[in-house]
């Protein structure tokens, strides 16, 4: 974690906008994800029906989450695994640490997991003397940089390959300093060679889960690197950490979600690897872990179930809303100061950590609605951001100047006569102030606008004033 907080949003955003390297890296969001998703969607005529189906099945699951969690737990136990419920992040960390200690682990490998980031697992394990090695290439890179991921499916989207090469030279000791790392395959080959060692020596492997299936007790991960499979199958203990809303009722339901997930995220029809894990290795299995644990994290989610933000629990973490968000595209993920950036993060972060901690996030949106449009779960993200703004406003949190301006404006807007008297006076005055130029390049009280844009001047009299006159002329 780099210590940024959602409370520093404005300063972080300004820094991000001024960061030329970051701006160059962010072009990849547009070049990569957006076009690929559009093509993938276009090739699947039933995409919208699939989306309705997925939304309905997630809503159904959330409505009966208690029942499905119990059913899921029974199936995991039947298949020889164990389920641990973790109400808080601290509980989840402690449970994982205990399993690792019991296994006598000094090294654990990890597949990419946002829940692991959410609970701050790596620092907790390291503090107990256990090395946690990220094996997803992107996660490996941010681990050696000591950063948080800047995107939920593409952790290093904020970096260019030259920066990554520098990190590798710095962090991967014992290799020739003058080796060539200019091409992406060079970087991949070096990481692969280093990580191979970790895969075969780790005592515990920790993965996240894209889905949990109640019908079979399986956990599902999707990856493009195969690192998740090696993490899950080579060590003697496999720990799955997942939040409770990852549950779906059946294998069939999982397939419905999977058909949307990769298409929406990376624009692939399906990821290179889709891995189902059900319990530990059975007698006669040539490989697989001897223990299979699932740590189910709540961390505020069951509270969301009963409130205004339940629909957010449909999220399958595809990243489409980030990819299509003009704000995310302008400032990148780190500026949000939350592990969950972009539109989904603007709704989820205050739900998990409190609106007082993250009031800028749901406010910093033009409500362009593209997030909701591309969301494969049809989550009404702008409406929920507005809901947060309402809570924020009710608490009296917006700056005094903002609240005062809004109250004054509303006072007039509710009183048409007063409103027209005011606008009828102000518009011509302002127009006269602009003179023949037709615009303002700077204006007191409007610096926030005129710093970067001119303000077009009013034409002169208001419409209503002029209209009244034309009516007067027409009158018999």
């Amino acid at each position: 974690m780099d210590g940024a907080s959602p409370q520093d949003f404005k300063q972080s955003a300004a820094r991000a906008l001024a960061d030329a390297k970051l701006q160059r890296a962010l072009l990849n969001v547009k070049r990569g994800f957006i076009v690929k998703r559009a093509n993938a969607k276009a090739k699947l005529p039933e995409f919208d029906e699939l989306r309705d189906e997925a939304r309905a099945l997630k809503d159904h699951t959330l409505l009966h989450l208690d029942l499905y969690l119990e059913a899921y737990e029974r199936k995991v136990i039947e298949s020889g695994g164990q389920v641990h419920f973790a109400p808080s992040a601290a509980d989840a960390r402690d449970i994982v640490l205990k399993i690792c200690k019991d296994a006598g682990a000094s090294l654990v490998t990890k597949g990419k997991s946002m829940v692991s980031e959410e609970i701050g697992l790596n620092a907790h394990l390291e503090a107990a003397g256990i090395e946690a090695a990220e094996t997803d290439l992107g996660e490996h890179i941010i681990q050696i940089r000591g950063e948080a991921p800047s995107h939920i499916i593409a952790p290093v989207i904020h970096l260019n390959k030259e920066e990554i090469a520098e990190d590798f030279v710095r962090a991967h000791r014992g290799l020739p300093q003058d080796r060539s790392l200019s091409a992406v395959p060079d970087l991949v080959a070096e990481a692969r060679a280093l990580l191979r060692e970790k895969f075969v020596t780790a005592e515990v492997g920790i993965t996240g889960a894209n889905l949990l299936i109640a019908e079979t007790g399986s956990s599902v991960i999707v990856t493009n690197e195969g690192n998740g499979d090696l993490t899950a199958t080579l060590p003697k203990v496999h720990i799955v950490i997942a939040s409770i809303e990852k549950l779906v009722p059946t294998l069939e339901d999982a397939c419905t979600v999977l058909r949307l997930l990769a298409r929406s995220g990376t624009g692939q029809e399906i990821t290179t690897y889709t891995t189902f894990a059900t319990g530990p290795a059975r007698a006669g299995d040539p490989d697989g872990p001897r223990q299979y644990h699932v740590v189910l994290l709540d961390n505020g989610r069951s509270e969301m179930l009963g409130g205004d933000f339940r629909a957010m629990l449909r999220c399958i973490r595809c990243g489409a809303c980030l990819n299509h968000c003009p704000v995310y595209g302008a400032i990148g993920g780190h500026a949000y100061g939350s592990l969950y950036p972009g539109p989904m993060g603007a709704v989820l972060t205050p739900a998990l950590y409190g609106i007082d901690h993250a009031r800028d996030l749901p406010n910093a949106s033009s409500f362009c609605g593209r997030c909701e449009e591309v969301c494969p779960m049809a989550i009404p993200l702008p409406s929920m951001m507005r809901k947060w703004r309402e809570r924020d406003f009710e608490r009296g949190d917006p700056p005094l100047r903002e609240r005062l301006a809004l109250r004054l404006w509303a006072f007039a807007a509710k009183r048409p006569r007063l409103y027209h008297a005011l606008s009828g006076t102000i518009a011509p005055l302002v127009a006269r102030l602009a003179g023949d130029r037709g615009r303002f390049t700077s204006l007191p009280f409007a610096g926030a606008w005129t710093e970067t844009r001119d303000l077009p001047a009013p034409q002169g009299k208001t419409f209503h004033e002029l209209y009244r006159k034309t009516r007067g002329n027409e009158a018999p």
Binding site: A410, A412, H420, D436
Partner: protein, 261 residues
Amino acid sequence: MTTEATEKRPHVGLFVTCLVDLFRPSVGFAAIKLLLDAGATVEVPESQTCCGQPAYNSGNREDATAIARTVIETFERFDYLVAPSGSCAAMLRVHYPSLLADDPQFAERARALGAKSYELTSFLVEVLGLDKVAARFEGNVTYHDSCSSLRELKLRDAPRRLLASVDGLSLTEMEETEVCCGFGGAFSVKYPEISSAIDEAKVCNIAKSGAACLLAGDLGCLLHIAGRLSRDGSKVECRHVAEVLAGLIEGPAIGQARKAG
């Protein structure tokens, strides 16, 4: 005009919008001309101010609701409400019904008004069946869809269809027409740097299109884009689509200097 239309001309209440009222009355007059020419009767109730979006999108539900009730009381007597703005029309069509859903006195009235509220070009094309206008505009233009038109009203064709009938006008689409201009109402002054960065990308696409004029159906976007274009010293002019369709183009473009004399 069809015979039904001549039997009873639809009575339209024009929702001027606060931005048109303050900044660009010519858009309101253009709207009236277009509506009259297409066979509607038009009235502009004076007891209108704003649709309430500034309050609604700032989380001030109470004031937004009060304003919405006034708008409903003012406009429900008309056959239709028409606004020269996708954003205000979407507020009325999409958001009033949800804003007032739990208000026993207004829930049904909000739904009823929402159902007969239209953005200007979509009303002309979809309700009045207009497919051409008698206007002339020399030059190559590009069209900016407002996010609310595009995504809340699912409206893309109507302005383009009418523009296609304007003599002398050719339309070149810019890249990324579906992307926001970064205005977002109060967003543009609460987060000016971000808003402006998004605007900059939009202005780049406008420049790349090679068009001499940018048209749009929402004055908010237009003020934002025009302000950036003129700051950058661009020669591209910005006008509201209604002004071009109505042939009211003598005055300076948005944010442009008045001609000498």
